[in-house]
């Protein structure tokens, strides 16, 4: 093979890269032909890569790559042992029959997907669940990533596309406010798009940690708003208050393009700067400076953006928090105009596409509501089935996992006895991880499709070895809603199979027509496109061929918009009346009790530069593992002192859900009431052992970022 242009397997920036075969070095003895990575001058990364991207090809040849199906023999206490594909499929088909009582109780079988799957696989996984298994029980790990931003954007704009404008629009913006986002570590090449803002002193970062991005802002004369974790909505309301009282609100825009301002102001008017300061810990001067820079840049047409990310979104009040930040953007007149806007920075590689094509429990392809009869009829017609054959809405991610192994779940409905897991590692990434592992362990049958023996795969009864990004064809949709081609650059290892093939084979065993489950990615894409036609995320005018011809296509790209839609909402918003909605619910005015209990700090979790998600891939790359080999607990030296801890000692961090073991890392820039633990590590170092699964009522997002904990030396 020669050079292949594709995209990085990791985050939603989807950096353009070329993969070329290279001569094996001594390190590669016994492995397949390694690939050399060359960054491409693609609009999101412009020839840059972080160390994850540079080393991404190494994951293809890791030593413990799965190349044969594994079956647990001898019951739950038995070992996983190699098996043939035929044996594995037989065991699965039999287990489906058993768990679903011969098909009478299809909801006893669940499917758990991932935001790393291509659009084609995400689509087909949803179709497999609904038609192959007949179950409503499908959701995915993006529920814990983008769901609050999605629900907030849908509420306020009538449509959720992470960034409603191309990333490159940020390039010449003089004011950019990043809320709970740390791109300098989570997606470094994105930082090039912040250069103008940085140089203008207009880069502003809301983060309880003095992250690499916060430092970049501060060192360039920008603003770091170092708020107490969990106070993002109050902060947004306080900034909105200042915008209005200082006369910086865009009254014409509010009148012409929005609804609900008066009710929003009734809430925000009570968020006086002094109260906002006491609650958030951000001083009034910084609050004022942030709003002033945004408003000044917006008024002068010099570019003003507010971008939120997981720091603000991953909470049980995430949707309302996002809506409050959008309200600030609306008050300043940013969304739906050139050179300004609100957006969310999608995390997972296909976090955007993964939430559009039917992996979510409440959705059908094209970002259609599964409860909408017209949507069901459209998709049923494409699938060639009766609309009644499509099950209704299922449980959200955590609720689905929590229903595992239970005869009757917490919601009173039948529990789940069998679960398929694709492209996800919930044993590490789920909130209340110990409980989730326990639930998975009590399943009749757990089937995990992965390319490495992840912590979840190690619990499985059946492990299916699948292919990786550089071994497959397909598409992903990046953080700006642009559909990209992922291309095969290497021969997959013998013994592995593509998930599209696996789903067809399983469907056949379950007695479903094989033609429901095509395996050619281009053909699957065409079906996905038809299923999405007329939906919110309309892909119907996109094809592999158009993408291969080099076209830049942002959805919606359908009959009305064959050239794609790089910028949304320029004329009107996607709500019924075309107006954006102010929605401001900060919580009861005095629920923000800042008083801290004795001997407690707030645990917040997040990413490190060198690792991705549960770390199942990046922990296997020596150069990444070397730099960040274990879970650390970053805290202020004063905090360490008050808990009798010292730099480098092991600490047990105990929350209501459970406790984490991590190594203390002192950082005098930390807030004294906050401890940070990255979530990439397995075993006792799992940050999610102490995160709670209290769920957002709208998005069903758990609380990953704010958990009260105590600490003790081990």
């Amino acid at each position: 093979m020669t050079r292949t242009d594709t995209h990085c397997p990791y985050c939603a920036l989807q950096c353009g890269m070329a993969l070329s075969p290279t001569t094996p070095s001594q390190d590669d003895v016994g492995r397949r032909v390694p690939l050399e990575v060359t960054p491409l001058d693609f609009p999101t990364n412009r020839g840059r890569l972080c160390r994850k991207g540079w080393s991404s090809a190494q994951v293809l040849g890791v030593g413990d790559r799965l190349t044969t199906p594994l079956l647990r023999r001898g019951g739950k206490s038995g070992e996983l042992a190699p098996a043939t594909w035929g044996e594995a499929f037989d065991v699965i088909a039999e287990a489906v029959h058993r768990a679903s009582a011969g098909g009478r109780e299809p909801d006893r079988v669940g499917v758990f997907g991932g935001g790393g799957l291509t659009n084609e696989k995400a689509y087909m996984l949803g179709k497999f669940a609904r038609l192959g298994l007949g179950t409503s029980q499908i959701d995915y790990n993006g529920r814990w990533c983008m769901s609050s931003a999605a629900a907030g954007a849908a509420r306020c704009f009538g449509l959720d596309r992470g960034m409603p404008f191309p990333l490159a629009d940020l390039d010449d913006a003089e004011a950019i406010l990043l809320v709970g986002a740390n791109p300098a570590e989570t997606m470094p090449p994105m930082v090039t798009h912040l250069d103008t803002a940085r140089e203008s002193g207009g880069l502003m970062v809301v983060d309880p940690r003095r992250s690499a991005t916060a430092r970049l802002a501060d060192e360039a004369g920008g603003v770091h708003l170092q708020n107490r974790p969990g106070t993002d909505a109050a902060l947004a309301a306080g900034l909105l208050h200042i915008a209005v009282t200082r006369g910086w609100a865009d009254r014409d825009y509010i009148r012409d393009r929005t609804s609900g301002f008066d009710d929003a102001w009734a809430v925000a008017s009570q968020w006086l700067p002094e109260r906002t300061e006491a609650v958030t810990g951000v001083g009034v001067p910084a609050l004022r400076a942030a709003v002033e820079r945004l408003a000044t840049a917006a008024r002068a047409g010099r570019g003003a953006y507010i971008l939120t990310a997981r720091g603000a979104e991953q909470s049980s009040r995430g949707t309302d928090t996002v809506a409050t930040w959008i309200a600030l953007a609306l008050a300043l007149g940013l969304p739906g105009r050139k050179r300004s806007g609100w957006g969310t920075i999608t995390g997972q590689g296909n976090g955007q596409g993964g939430r559009e094509h039917g992996q979510k429990c409440d959705q059908l392809p094209g970002y259609r509501k599964i409860t909408d009869p017209a949507a069901r009829a459209h998709v049923a017609a494409v699938w060639g089935v009766d609309p009644d054959a499509i099950p209704g809405p299922g449980r959200s991610a955590f609720e689905l996992l929590d229903a595992c192994g239970r005869d009757v779940a917490a919601d009173g409905r039948p529990g789940v006895q069998m679960l398929f897991v694709h492209a996800s590692n919930p044993v590490v990434s789920a909130p209340d991880a110990a409980r989730v592992a326990e639930r998975l362990d009590t399943l009749d049958t757990l089937v995990v499709a992965d390319f490495v023996p992840s912590e979840t795969a190690q619990l499985a009864d059946v492990v299916l070895p699948v292919r990786q990004w550089a071994e497959e064809e397909g598409t992903v949709t990046n953080l700006e809603g642009r559909v990209l081609r992922r291309r095969r650059a290497a021969e997959p290892p013998a013994g592995t199979r593509d998930e599209l093939e696996i789903l067809r084979a399983l469907a056949e065993r379950l007695g479903r027509p094989a033609h429901w489950f095509p395996t050619d990615p281009a053909e699957v894409f065409d079906e996905l496109a038809r299923a999405s036609a007329g939906g919110a995320a309309d892909y119907s005018a996109i094809s592999h061929a158009r993408l291969d011809a080099g076209e830049a296509l942002h959805w919606p790209c359908g009959a009305d918009s064959p050239g794609g839609t790089p910028r949304l909402f320029l004329g009107s918003f996607a709500t019924a009346d075309g107006r954006a909605v102010f929605s401001l619910d900060v919580g009861a005015p005095d629920t923000f009790d800042t008083r801290v209990a004795e001997r407690q700090v707030v645990l917040t979790t997040g990413r490190l530069l060198g690792h991705y998600q549960s770390g199942a891939q990046t922990r296997r790359v020596p150069e990444l593992h070397r730099t960040d080999p274990e879970a650390t607990a970053t805290m202020h030296p004063d905090t360490a002192t008050s808990f009798d801890l010292a730099d480098g000692v092991m600490v047990r961090i105990r929350g209501r859900a459970g406790s984490i073991e991590a190594r203390v890392l002192l950082d005098p820039t930390s807030r004294r009431d906050t401890v940070f633990v990255p979530f990439h590590f397995p075993g006792a170092g799992r940050a999610n052992l102490a995160t709670e699964a209290s769920l957002d009522p709208h998005s069903r997002m758990p609380d990953f970022k704010v958990n009260n904990v105590t600490m003790e030396a081990i």
């Binding site: 960054p39 020839g47 840059r48 890569l49 972080c50 160390r51 540079w54 791109p183 300098a184 570590e185 470094p188 090449p189 930082v191 003095r210 430092r215 970049l216 060192e219 170092q226 107490r228 209005v244 009282t245 200082r246 006369g247 008066d262 009710d263 102001w265 009734a266 008017s269 009570q270 006086l272 700067p273 002094e274 109260r275 300061e277 006491a278 609650v279 958030t280 810990g281 001083g283 009034v284 001067p285 004022r288 005015p589 005095d590 800042t594 008083r595 801290v596 530069l609 060198g610 150069e623 730099t627 030296p637 004063d638 002192t641 008050s642 950082d667 005098p668 820039t669 807030r671 004294r672």
Partner: protein, 501 residues
């Protein structure tokens, strides 16, 4: 017929409104009546001084629309005053647009607030040619001040407390006032504005700043009387004024309670459950006094409103425990743009008062730069302080005070902001950099790696990138890499120089 319990709230201000909201959020069945004697629905009083600056219309201070109150089934009556409370009979006599009326209640919440105090020397009858004398308490006051200020040539603000400074600053910024060349003077009897909250040095910094904003600050100035065209001061000096805004403190509105036989001192006396001395009568906000201290500020008032609502509902709900006020302290924050000022708790302790076991006082005084910080720490917690011009630390400190969190161990580093500047900021010079120092974070490239690459012939950033991947991530280290290359080149040049003996 089933009896629908009725709660009457006397006072339609921020605390009364909040109490109504809290009652409704806890109970759908209560009948809730709010009696406000102003012509407006509840508004945000705190914003009135902002409105004087002209960036916000007084009408925009409204908290909720009439529709909002209607939708929540709260009977909010404006222009309705309460003539008398019959505590034993549980009725109030009200007078409103519909005429006098006797209203029975099950519970009564007194949220009557406070009124501006006008010194007797200024309360003489208004004569032709005399300046107009106004307080600033309600929205109507604000509108009157704005209307009068638009035509005024000389405006005198009396009282250099927090509100007085804010009023003077706002008027001096109002384009309709200062923009016309009108003069704004601020008369304060003390040696420095806000002297009761700040002390000498910070007060002097504030005084300088207030003057820089175009306010004619007159210290040691007591108004002795009103004359034609202005004010006569105690020392005989004449201050021309056609508008006088008085901000000389407030007095709790307690007359209703007093006449009803309820215990009143400076305010209506409430216990920790916010109950007055009369059964079924509650009080909250500026009209109330708890533990010998009048409420005075908004957040404790809101908390009392919430406690009252909870405790009233608990009586109907049965099982719930009564709630008590947390007695929280609040930082005083001056709302002017030019200088950030915070004063909180027991600030008035001087460092030389220190004795073992007593409070620790840390002071950083830099008046030339307009900065002053004082922290008073006792038992490891911040119990008081003053921060002037300390923009970078004020949020962290006031939150620590507010939350009762442990104080920093190194107070001076906290005040100077050096603890965060020390870490991450200030990249060391190439020569001082340890070899393992990470120069490129994105690709984990150390100084040693750069030195090696340079030794192998990589002499510019592009070659370094090719060789080590440094600068290829976020790209922000390019400058540092260049600097290290320059240093390495200089070293090489030095090494090539002939050795001198």
């Amino acid at each position: 017929m089933s009896h629908r319990p009725r709660v009457i709230i006397v006072g339609g201000g921020m605390v009364g409104a909040r109490c109504a909201e809290e009652l409704r959020s806890r109970s759908r069945s209560l009948e809730i009546i709010v009696l406000g004697d102003e012509e407006h629905l509840a508004y945000n009083r705190v914003l009135l001084s902002t409105a004087l600056a002209g960036s916000l219309a007084p009408s925009e201070t409204e908290l909720h629309s009439a529709r909002w109150w209607r939708e929540r089934d709260i009977d909010f009556r404006t222009s309705t005053s309460v003539q008398a409370v019959e505590a034993a009979a549980r009725t109030v006599l009200v007078d409103g647009p519909a005429g006098p009326e006797q209203l029975p209640f099950d519970h009564l919440v007194l949220a009557t607030g406070a009124r501006s105090f006008l010194p007797p020397t200024l309360t003489t009858a208004h004569d032709v040619g005399h300046p107009e004398i106004l307080g600033l308490r309600g929205r109507a006051d604000c509108e009157r001040v704005l209307a009068a200020a638009r035509g005024a040539r000389n405006i005198a603000v009396i009282g250099g407390g927090v509100l007085g400074v804010e009023i003077a600053d706002a008027l001096a910024r109002n384009p309709d006032v200062a923009g016309r060349g009108a003069r704004v003077s601020l008369l304060h009897p003390g040696d420095a504005p806000m002297d009761k909250q700040l002390g000498a040095t910070p007060g002097a910094i504030l005084a300088r700043c207030v003057r820089e904003q175009g306010v004619d600050l007159m210290l040691g100035a007591r108004a002795a009387g009103v004359e034609e065209g202005g004010l006569r001061l105690g020392d005989g000096q004449f201050v021309p004024a056609d508008l006088v805004v008085v901000s000389a403190g407030v007095r709790a509105n307690t007359a209703l309670a007093e006449n009803a036989g309820v215990d009143v001192r400076r305010g209506i006396v409430i216990d920790e459950r916010c109950s007055t001395s009369a059964d079924g009568l509650w009080a909250a906000g500026d009209c109330a006094e708890f533990d010998g201290v009048p409420t005075g500020t908004l957040r404790p008032g809101w908390e009392q409103a919430e406690v009252v609502a909870h405790n009233i509902c608990a009586q109907f709900g049965g099982a719930q425990e009564p709630r008590t006020v947390a007695h929280r302290r609040e930082a005083v924050r001056l709302k002017i743009d030019a200088l950030d000022v915070a004063s909180f708790g027991r600030w008035c302790v001087e460092p030389f008062d220190w004795e073992p076991g007593g409070p620790d006082v840390t002071v950083l005084s830099d008046p030339a730069a307009g900065r002053y910080g004082k922290l008073v720490v006792e038992s490891g917690r911040i119990v008081g302080g003053v921060l002037v011009g300390m923009d970078d630390v004020v949020g962290a400190v006031t939150q620590m005070f507010d939350s009762g969190a442990m104080a920093p161990l190194d107070r001076l580093a906290m005040l100077t902001g050096t603890e965060s500047a020390g870490a991450g900021g200030g990249e060391p010079e190439p020569a001082d950099m340890p070899g393992e120092h990470t120069v490129c974070q994105c690709n984990a490239v150390s100084k040693d790696a750069l030195v090696r690459a340079h030794g192998e012939g990589a002499c510019d950033v592009a070659a370094i990138a090719e060789c080590t991947r440094a600068t290829t991530g976020c790209g922000t280290c390019a400058g540092k890499v260049e600097k290290i290359l320059g240093w390495l080149d200089a070293q090489d040049a030095h090494a090539r120089e002939p050795a001198t003996v």
